[in-house]
Amino acid sequence: MIEWITLHIVEKYNFWIAMIIVIIGLTAVVVKENLLKKLIGLSIFQTAFFLWVVSLGDVGRGDILRTWGLRTGAHPILWKEAAEKGYIYMNPLPHVLMLTGIVVSAATTAVALAIVIRIYQKYGTIEEGELIEKELQFEREGVN
């Protein structure tokens, strides 16, 4: 039992934490009525996931990926042998990838915020239920 917990939970704590935060974010996206809160949820979702990918880069220490039965493959900057000789190093590629991802997520948030502002200007509210009601009202009045 202890072994199982060690193997699947303690050693892979980064996976678990990331997954929990991802689920928190997704829940917010789905459940919240307020458009801004949805957006916050989306950001949490994305960030949690970046966190996980960054943690993948840590191949030198506990060698989580090995115990997980994975191959880490050839890395562009440090050689494989370095890891085998026990040097502690981080694979920088996930970090680089996630740097790009963060930029993209910032851009997404900016676009979404701009749209939310326009929605507020147009409808006077950012609660989804009220928005839909207003839209139905427009539909009846024939306003585009």
Partner: protein
């Protein structure tokens, strides 16, 4: 290294560069960005023709960015499939730009014109990028560029378009996130991001849960972007309220390029062997497609808004593509149908959205019931609408008939007879919802129509709107013969060979 081999990267790089130039030039004169975009994209079109010729005669182009060797550097790979898609994307973007000239004046405030064209050009750059790249992460960057600009372009219409645009941002971001999630899982397993390299490394890991999970993540992420059936909910509202130009461009090429990611994933990152032996995904995909085809059509029948109906029709047509993809595991005719339908649907749906936009611009109509007597008032747009609708229904000898024929043959070849029934039934459903409109346009008597007929001759639309529409409509018929004839056999054989599908025509 030949000159042609630089063209893919030239197209993508110059597109980005053009977009920023347009923004700067826009300060000088608001009309200039349009002309710059038009000229540059026409230039890209010529380049893409050279690329296709090179790919068909010599072989795939492999371009290493910055001279870095593939597993580490980014690689651009253009084979027959990309070259074919690249030509479609560029030509539809050009036609859309021509069409937008007077449409944009009508639907978008003037102060936004410069940014509108900049965003269109950026979206084009993103689409070209996805098309030519051979690197999974690079594909994500282009995917995001194409998506972010699409969010903004839908929202640019203002008013009712805003809420759908917001929904699209949320759904699209989740989709993109899942995509990059999947790519990272594959990276964790193989340590590479290059498609060709990954294809070599993956077969040993096909049974690995990580690889299978990564595959599933990417598929779901892309499915959101390509609004495949259960994940389509953001799409109808967006297409209904977006500017007509954008609806037309997105429905015809944006979604095709998104779908292209799936094709690459299936054929160039994984192999068909993985799809049908290790995860048994093919038949599931076919059933999903069957449901999408029928459900999309039935929803389309229920709509009263013209553009919304077309949007649901797109969902159903994406099902055709998905069916082709699913059946390709059994029969190479599936790939043929898929490849043919990519073009046919791009041409047909582009034309339909353009004419819907023309109806809105001239008559202010959005509802199907207002279409009465349009055939008299706007003869050319109505004719274009009718021909394109006939193509999507699959009436011979239009283009849609050919792709339906290929898909039917694929289902027969795969001994999956139920999908033949689905395809044939969907033709009838398409007929119901399109014919409802055509009946209104031409055949229902309308008193006002005869009165208004005297006021003007023709459509009262500039040639810049009619030209692209009529060109696409005529293409619907010409393509019908091209696909039936053996003219396209060399291209198809090359695509089949490049995608690693057995068999040839």
């Amino acid at each position: 290294m030949q000159l042609v081999e630089h063209f893919p990267v030239l197209i993508v790089g110059l597109s980005m560069f053009t977009a920023y130039t347009m923004l700067l030039v826009g300060f000088l004169d608001r009309r200039l960005p349009y002309y710059i975009a038009l000229i540059m994209n026409s230039f890209f079109f010529i380049l893409s023709l050279f690329i296709l010729d090179y790919v068909l005669t010599v072989g795939p182009i492999r371009y290493w960015l910055g001279g870095w060797r593939p597993p580490w550097g980014i690689e651009y790979v253009v084979d027959a499939m990309n070259a074919y898609l690249l030509i479609i994307v560029i030509s539809i973007i050009i036609l859309g730009l021509i069409y937008s000239r007077s449409n944009v004046k009508h639907e978008i405030e003037e102060r936004k014109h410069v940014t509108f064209y900049v965003l269109v050009q950026l979206m084009a750059a993103g689409l070209y990028g996805i098309t030519v790249t051979g690197d999974l992460f690079n594909m994500f960057i282009w995917l995001e560029i194409a998506s972010l600009t699409a969010y903004a372009l839908i929202a640019v219409a203002g008013g009712r378009a805003l809420r759908p645009a917001y929904n699209y941002v949320i759904m699209g971001s989740i989709g993109a996130c899942l995509y990059i999630f999947g790519v990272c899982w594959l990276y964790a397993a193989t340590g590479t991001l290059n498609m060709a390299d990954m294809r070599l490394l993956l077969p040993l890991l096909y049974t690995d849960k990580v690889v299978q999970m990564g595959f599933a993540m990417i598929v779901v992420g892309v499915m959101i972007k390509a609004y495949i059936f259960p994940l389509h909910l953001w799409q109808p509202d967006c297409y209904t309220w977006a500017p007509s130009t954008i609806s037309s461009m997105m429905a015809s090429v944006h979604v095709k390029v998104m779908f292209y990611i799936l094709i690459r994933l299936f054929f160039s990152v994984f192999t068909l062997n993985f799809i049908w032996q290790y995860i048994r995904f093919d038949i599931l995909l076919c059933w999903l497609a069957a449901i999408a085809i029928l459900a999309g059509s039935i929803w389309a029948i229920k709509q009263s808004n013209l553009k919304r109906m077309l949007a649901y029709s797109s969902i159903s047509q994406m099902g055709y593509l998905l069916l082709g993809l699913g059946l390709s595991a059994f029969s190479y005719w599936g790939v043929v149908g898929l490849v043919a339908h990519i073009l046919n649907h791009a041409v047909g749906k582009g034309c339909l959205f353009m004419s819907a936009g023309a109806f809105y611009q001239k008559e202010g109509l959005r509802q199907i019931k207002d279409c009465e007597g349009l055939g008299k008032r706007m003869p050319f747009s109505s004719a274009a609408f009718t021909i394109a609708a006939a193509s999507l229904i699959g009436i011979p000898p239009t283009a849609g008939f050919a792709s339906k024929l290929f898909l039917i043959l694929a289902s027969l070849d795969a001994a999956q007879y139920q999908f033949v029934v689905v395809l044939l039934l969907s033709g009838l459903l398409n007929l119901i919802y399109f014919w409802r409109v055509i009946d209104k346009i031409y055949f229902v008597k309308h008193e006002e129509a005869t009165k208004r007929e005297v006021e003007r001759r023709g459509d009262g639309l500039p040639f810049s709107m009619l030209g692209p529409m009529l060109f696409l409509a005529s293409l619907c018929i010409v393509l019908g013969f091209v696909w039936l004839s053996d003219l396209s056999t060399p291209l198809m054989n090359q695509i089949l060979a490049n995608l690693g599908v057995g068999g040839s025509l």
